[in-house]
Structures are given as structure tokens and as C-alpha cells.
Symmetry: C2
Subunit: 457 residues, 2 copies
């Protein structure tokens, strides 16, 4: 099995070339104009997986972007691992903050710089190569399926019905996902909890047209000022969210578990320095790790209204807009929370304006128990390549479909992420260290080996 | 003198063609890319005034856009009227809300539809034609100067030094301005007060890069949320502005004067219906007319930050921005108020963010006494063409340079505006009724006649 290191060494250059070709396709799922890129990306994945050794690979249509499904069934009696990943990426704006063009991958300082370098092209690609290695060297110890979607970054709207309609096809013992991070490059960790997500767009309308701020200023509700006031009322002075019953279903985390979490390495000084902020800001009574792991949060992801151009234009705009997201924890249901938000937000509007709340997407939170066989197998895999036992952590991020897999397919997921906190996913200058990339390809086959062993035992 | 009506009738088509040619030049002063249009516009004005009968006309350079200066001196012993106007216009966004392209003037429903149709190309052009009539018919009773600037919409930064440097050239007995409105088409009015203006841009910076709202949400100050909170704190629950000493220099308006103002025609139901709002919104204790006439106000003219595109992007942006304007009344000094605002706004920022306040422009408020000869002359002019005495009103808008003229040149201004509240200046679908346009040309010569008469008397 230590031949994996040699295999990587011998094929390094080809791996990077193939990955770069994947990255160069600007598969931004949230922008309609990139539809043709989604198809190109799916087709390129098909080629990759077939060349890696799959028996069959299909680009299966959905109402949205297609799902790339592939399989290699060596023996129906053996266990089946299903790889899940996504071939879509986030938008790149503000594009002027990128040091190099987002879709022209480049290696600098031992890292790959590009949109999707980590999330999730780089990480999903590791699975293609780990699989290729096991097939080419006849070491595959179980059946493998691949399911790659093109809508993860917009909340996987088509993958839920796809799973409903393909339950038989998608049968597996575990779903293996690389779309999360480790604590740092020397501290492997496995994400055991993911926050859920609610995302809405709000629109506040004041007068029926843009007005001269001199002629009307002082007499008419300015929708920007009103929107700011409404957003301000969403949290109190302790940074608690004020939406009624927002916390009602939040699962209580014991003092014991909070004490365990507190042992994870965390240096506030470094954390602040990395972000260049003088002070952190969050819910009173909770640590940073808790605020991003076990507590829900609310953020305005975007706001706009009125004049944003050069110079000074004196205007009272007719409308103001914001995109607002909430990160949710078990057992908050995003449908319920979104509805509570909508009612509360509408109630905050004075009669001088009209308000519209449009839900954009959502997903459930997920928790993975650390005593399941797949967790043990992943733990051993990291131990083999990193020489230390990985730490179970909870991530603030969301992969809503992971909760969906459990609900629809009844299959748990194991989150073997190799990203780092510094990878700037969703931001300008996304990057993925080569060390993490190759270490991922090296670690994954050990998971199969251990997981299959348990199968036989 | 009643030949003016015939003159208009005979030259109607030419007047409109010439005005349309002026309007077609997209002279947006706040957008750098329109620099060449500013020059074209100044040159076109030069041609217009020379053809109308000026002795000389010069395009005089400034640090910014040039000033078009012209004069016709018939007798140095006679009084001199100086026309002030501006050839620049406001930006046109959101351009998608225009029914016809903003720089392709069109006549529909008896109105000219275009950016600048009223403010101030249409209104300034009336003076060129009134002047032309008086010259061509040998009825000019006094000396005339023209001063047209290209930076009114950005606060006239170059006209202040221009006035300082050209005091001799700009000597006059009165400055005549058409850049305001009448109460309605059947109710002539003269604007006797103009609000001043302060305008700043603010920037709130949180983390040094855009962050994934899942990984960091709840732990880091989101600059949009913080900006909203800071903006909210700028006014209290009575809609008083909370900047310390903001009202300190506001001139007290007597109950008697407030009672007089209350006699101006105002129908709240109509006012609300015209704006399609269910309720008005303003400072407690003051009427709508007072709120826009004698009280200062604060408005966010623009706000932006984070993701504004299609769909859902989960991000905590690094920065959030707003443009904030305050309308000021006598005797508020915009420099003082802007400094107080800056200090207060900075004090509102929590340590988790950095804040920058950049003053963009400003101007003083202005009051014109109703007992000065020029006011009396304007009153008689309106009375002649409208058959009723005009009402003195205070406008919420600002023409900051008018206060500057008094400070620098020692010359009072008289504001004979022919715009209407429905002209949508600064907004999409700006328009100017043909009736107002022609009535303006008809009324102006009577002002000269009356003003000169007083000179002789």
C-alpha cells in the first residue's frame, strides 16, 4: 500500500494538468450565463472518471445542472462507498482583488491559486486519483460510486429530487465527502457537525421613484435608512438574534462537550491577526469555536440601493435590497426559521415602506457520530499518513445536501476534508496547498482499506 | 412687449431643435468619462449665446469643467443682470427605469422627456431665448451677463475659485437663476430659501478579505451589519438627527412665519398618492413643508457591500460603503456639520471594524429677502403672465453656489424657477412641460423691464 506515494510521485505532473483543465472551466452555478460551462465541466468529469477506471459513467439530467454518476461494482456482496463532490464553484467578484485571474490556475508558494482550487474541484479530484490508483494497482477492496453535482453552491435544488428518484441506483454503505477543512496542515481533523443554512433576499420599497433628496429629504421614508434600521433590529446588544423563537429548537450542547471543544487549538491573537481585526464580534457567552460550530448566526451577505457610482448624487432611492443568511444548528429546520424570519422582518417595517422577503435557499444541519465504522476507518487512514489521531470538529459551514442524504437515502456521510482555513474558499485568491492535495490522494486509499476490513471482519 | 408671445410662436420649432441638440450631449459631471461631453456642451452654449446676440462669449478654463461667460453691455451706467445656470446634468442610473433613452429627448403628453429637460438645460435655455428676443427686437433695457458652469451637480468646486478670481468681470446688480420649481402650473411662486448640503462617503472595513459566512459567521464583525447599526444610530425614534450639536446653529423660525408657511397649498393625501406611500416619515413636531423647507435632514443616498448579483452567495464581505447627505438650513455651516458628523460617525464604530469618512461636497443655505427690488420685479413679471401674485416659498433643494455668490461677489440672487414637482429631476424620466418652458421665455423679459424701470426711477 505504500506504493501510493510512488504512484503520486510518478504521476504528479499529469494530475496537476488534469486538475488545471478542470479548474479552467468557469462553472459558476449561480450565474445563468455559465450554463454551457456546467455541461462542459460535467463532460470533463465523465472523461476523468472513465479514464480512472469506472465501469460506466453517465451524465444524468436534472431540472438544473446534470449529475455525473459513475460506478465500479467489483462484487455486489462487498460494501459500497459513494463519493460525493460538486463541480460547480462560487462567483469570483470582486474580481479586482484577485492577484491572478480566477480561472487561470497557477502554482505559487507551493499552492494552487484559482477559484475551485480547494472548493471543490481540488478536493473532489483527489478522489478520482485515489480511485485510479486503486483500480490500476488492483487494490480496490470494495465497490465505488461517484455522484458529482453542479449546484452545491446554490443549495443543491436538483439533487434532492435526484436522490428521491434514484434511491436504488444510489444505494451505498457510506458517502465519502472531501469538501471541508482540517485544523491545520499538521493537525488532521474530521468534521462531525455541519451548520444548516437559510438564505433570503429582502426588498424595501419607499416612494415609487427615485426622489431628489433636497426636495423630499426629511419628509419621506428613505428605504435605505429603513432597511438599515430593520437589519439592526435583527440582533440585540448581546448579538443574540431577535427573531422570535429563533433558538427554540437549538439542540442543547452539554458543558462537558463544550469543555472538550475548548481543547481544540485556537489562538485568538493569531485568528485576529489573520483577519486584521482588532476585536472579534459575536454572541455573548460563547467562544469563537462555539459561535461558529454550535450556535446559529445571522449575516447580511450583500446590500445595495441608491447611487453607488463615482462622486455625489443626491437621491432618495425608491428601493433598497439585502441578501441575508442564517447559519443553523441541529435541530433548526430552515423552512421553519425562514418563515419566522419573514414574519418578523415584515413586522419590523413601518407603514411608510413596503417589504418583500424572498427565500432563496436552505439546508439542514448535520451531525456525524464518532462511533460509526466509517468514522473509525477515516480516523485510521489519517493516523497512517499523518502519524496522529484526527480531532473531531464541528464546522460552521454548510453542505446542506449531506443532511439530505441521510433524510432521503438513509446513508450517513463521512467528511474527510483536506482544506485549510487559509484556502480563502468563496473569496478572492482561493488556493489549495499542493501538500494538502497530494496528502489527500495518499490518505483516501487507506480509508477504503480500513472500511473494507471492517466489512469483512 | 406683448410681441414676445408672437416671437415664441414663430420660433417654437427652432427653439426646441436647439434645446434638443443641447440635451443630446450627455454632460454628466460626476462621471470622469464624460469629460469630452462637458467641452462639447460648453462649446454649444457659446454658439447659442453668440447667435442670441451677446457681444462676446468665452469658454473660460477652470481646474474642472470650464465656465461659459458671455456679456452684452449696452451702457455701463445701466444696471446689469447676470444669468446663472449650469450645463451639467445628473447621472441617469437606474437607466432601465427610463421609458425612453435619457439623452434622446422626446415630446409626449405635452412634455419634453430627457435628462436635463428641466434641470438645468431646459430652464437655462429659456434665458438664452428671452435674451435673444430682447436683443433682436431692440428692447434690452439693461446690461446682461451669462455665467454657465459645468459642475453644479457635483457642488460647483471650480466656480468658487472662479468667482474669487473674476470679481471685476462678474460685477452685476442681481443674479437671475432658473433652477427651481413653482408650486404648480397655475400657482407661480418664487423660491426665497434654499437648503445647504453636506455630502460624505463612508467606508466600514471588517476582516481583510471576504470570508465564508459559514466558517466565520457569528465570530467576526460583518461590516454590512455594523454599517447598518451605525446608520441607524444617526437618528432617534423621533427622527431627530443625533449628531451632537447638529441643530446648534439652526436659525429659529417664528411661530408667525410657520403659520404663514402653513398657508401654502399642500394636500397630504395627494402628496402620498403621488409617491405611492401609505405614510410619510419625518421629524416629529414639524409639517411636511417645514421638514423640507426650514429643517435639516439626513439621507443615505447610496449603500453597497457584499454580493449583489443573481442568486445566493454566502459571504461576509470585507467592506461596506454608503453615501450620506445632509440638507442644511441657515445658519448651519457645512464644513462644521461635516466635521461633527465625521467625529460622531467614527465614534459609533466598534473596535471590530475600521471606519473612514470622506467629505465629497457641500454648500451653504441661502435666504432671499422679499423686499429687495429684484424680488419685486420678479413678482410683477409673474403677475403679468400668470395673472396672479407669486407665493414666496422655501425649497428643500440646494444650489450651494447661490450662497457662494453672496459670500464672494456680494450679489444677491433671485430664483425664478419654472419647474414643477412632477418633473422628476435627478430621477429616471425627467421631464419638462412645454407650457412651463414657453411660459418661462415669456415671463423673463418682463423681469428685465421691471428691474430696469426701478433702476431709472
Amino acid at each position: 500500500m505504500n506504493t501510493i506515494k510512488n504512484y503520486i510521485e510518478e504521476n504528479k505532473e499529469r494530475f496537476l494538468n488534469e486538475l488545471f483543465e478542470l479548474i479552467r472551466i468557469p462553472s459558476i452555478s449561480s450565474i445563468e450565463a455559465h450554463k454551457p460551462d456546467m455541461i462542459r465541466c460535467a463532460e470533463y468529469w465523465k472523461k476523468l472518471i472513465l479514464e480512472a477506471g469506472a465501469d460506466k459513467c453517465e451524465i444524468m439530467p436534472t431540472k438544473g445542472n446534470p449529475v455525473v454518476y459513475a460506478e465500479k461494482i467489483i462484487d455486489p456482496k462487498l460494501k459500497t462507498v459513494m463519493i460525493y463532490g460538486h463541480y460547480d464553484v462560487m462567483p469570483v467578484d470582486p474580481v479586482e482583488l484577485w492577484n491572478t485571474p480566477p480561472f487561470e490556475p497557477e502554482i505559487r508558494d507551493g499552492k494552487i491559486w484559482a477559484r475551485g482550487a480547494d472548493d471543490d474541484k481540488g478536493q473532489a479530484f483527489m478522489h478520482a486519483k485515489a480511485f485510479e490508483y486503486m483500480v490500476k494497482t488492483n487494490q480496490l477492496p470494495c465497490n465505488v460510486k461517484f455522484m458529482l453535482e453542479g449546484e452545491e453552491e446554490i443549495g443543491s435544488p436538483s439533487l434532492y429530487p435526484f436522490c428521491e428518484e434514484n434511491k436504488e441506483l444510489l444505494k451505498a454503505d457510506i458517502i465519502l465527502v472531501s469538501d471541508t477543512s482540517m485544523i491545520d496542515k499538521d493537525t488532521p481533523s474530521i468534521t462531525t457537525g455541519l451548520r444548516g443554512l437559510g438564505y433570503v433576499e429582502v426588498k424595501v420599497t419607499g416612494p415609487n421613484r427615485d426622489l431628489h433628496s433636497g426636495l423630499y429629504g426629511g419628509a419621506v421614508a428613505n428605504p435605505i435608512n429603513i432597511l438599515c434600521e430593520m437589519i439592526t433590529k435583527l440582533t440585540d446588544s448581546n448579538n443574540h438574534i431577535t427573531v422570535p423563537d429563533f433558538y427554540k429548537e437549538v439542540v442543547f450542547v452539554s458543558d462537558e462537550e463544550r469543555a472538550l471543544m475548548a481543547q481544540a487549538p485556537y489562538d485568538e491573537k493569531e485568528y485576529k491577526a489573520a483577519l486584521n481585526v482588532d476585536e472579534l464580534h459575536g454572541e455573548k457567552g460563547y467562544s469563537t469555536i462555539e459561535r461558529t460550530g454550535i450556535r446559529p448566526s445571522l449575516d447580511v451577505c450583500g446590500i445595495w440601493g441608491g447611487y453607488q457610482g463615482e462622486g455625489a448624487k443626491t437621491v432618495i432611492p425608491s428601493t433598497a435590497h439585502a441578501k441575508i443568511s442564517f447559519r443553523l444548528v441541529p435541530d433548526q429546520d430552515y423552512n421553519v426559521i425562514t418563515e419566522r424570519f419573514k414574519q418578523y422582518f415584515e413586522s419590523l417595517a413601518p407603514k411608510s415602506v413596503k417589504v418583500e422577503v424572498t427565500p432563496l435557499h436552505g439546508g439542514y444541519a448535520y451531525v456525524s457520530p464518532i462511533d460509526m465504522p466509517a468514522y473509525k476507518a477515516a480516523e485510521k487512514a489519517y493516523q497512517t499518513t499523518y502519524g496522529k489521531r484526527p480531532i473531531p470538529t464541528r464546522s460552521g459551514g454548510s453542505i446542506p445536501i449531506v443532511a439530505g442524504f441521510e433524510k432521503i437515502l438513509g446513508i450517513k456521510s463521512i467528511l474527510m476534508g483536506f482544506g485549510l482555513g487559509s484556502d480563502a474558499i468563496h473569496s478572492p485568491n482561493e488556493n489549495y496547498p499542493l501538500e494538502q492535495f497530494f496528502k489527500g490522494i495518499e490518505t483516501i486509499p487507506y480509508f477504503y482499506k480500513e472500511f473494507a476490513k471492517e466489512n469483512i471482519a
